[in-house]
Symmetry: C2
Subunit: 134 residues, 2 copies
Amino acid sequence: MENTSELLRQHDIKPSFTRVMIFDYLKENLNHPTVDEIFQALQTSLPTLSKTTVYNTLDLFIDKHLVQPLLMNQQKHYDLITDPHAHFKCERCDTIFDLDVKPPKLDKSTAANYHVYGTQLIYRGVCEKCQKHG
Amino acid sequence: MENTSELLRQHDIKPSFTRVMIFDYLKENLNHPTVDEIFQALQTSLPTLSKTTVYNTLDLFIDKHLVQPLLMNQQKHYDLITDPHAHFKCERCDTIFDLDVKPPKLDKSTAANYHVYGTQLIYRGVCEKCQKHG
DNA sequence: TATAAAACTGTAATCATTACAATTTTATAA
DNA sequence: TTATAAAATTGTAATGATTACAGTTTTATA
């Protein structure tokens, strides 16, 4: 997985081995993983990894606007910032689906007052599968 | 604050004194309070109120689609479902501002697969005040 | 008035996140 | 290379919002 280092450097992040691993995991897993999922998944390749490091690294990525946190079910989920898109969260099975809907841009007068660097559009409801079997 | 009872009844909620108080508090405080804020505010008028009751009641309101939870800063904030609108969250001072922006409706083909009963549009960034004094 | 159901309470447990001090690794310069 | 400082990582302990749950009170019903 090359050029992750370059990308991190471009965002003012020193590309340590751990950081590259965590970033690449996010790149290959766009299904909004939690800290725990990332930690579990990387443990075999990084046996000394600490959960605190995962937290720290993700916070760093958020700071540098590479990652966006999604708060759901009392837990943070992490999503690489790529194309603007929306999420649907099923309240029954707690699955998060990606939707190809673009969040609206703020109009000029509003945008003048706020410096926006991330948008989050979440639809809550019940997914098809859960509707079917009660 | 009349007709809250009626409204609750319409949503299949028995309008106990406590429930009406909590609902009215939300109606008069559209600034997305937390459980703790609601609990503190109502303690003088409801000295025996328990925080668990506030949690239970709000969960009930959410179930009946009267209230929408907003997860921010590792805490739930509660917002009466009124006109569709968006929120801006300042990452510096953690204030949540209301924005007069309507979340887009799902197009028919998408909406066919999901039963949506709530939408949440959140812009993250830095508010004007925080931009000014670093 | 008795009984069951619903609402409410209070304490204890849970669990994601944060704080923090210690250790390891990396970069820099003598 | 070696010494030193800075940065990154680790592990444990604390925090704090939320939930579980059992007991109590209130409300509705027969």
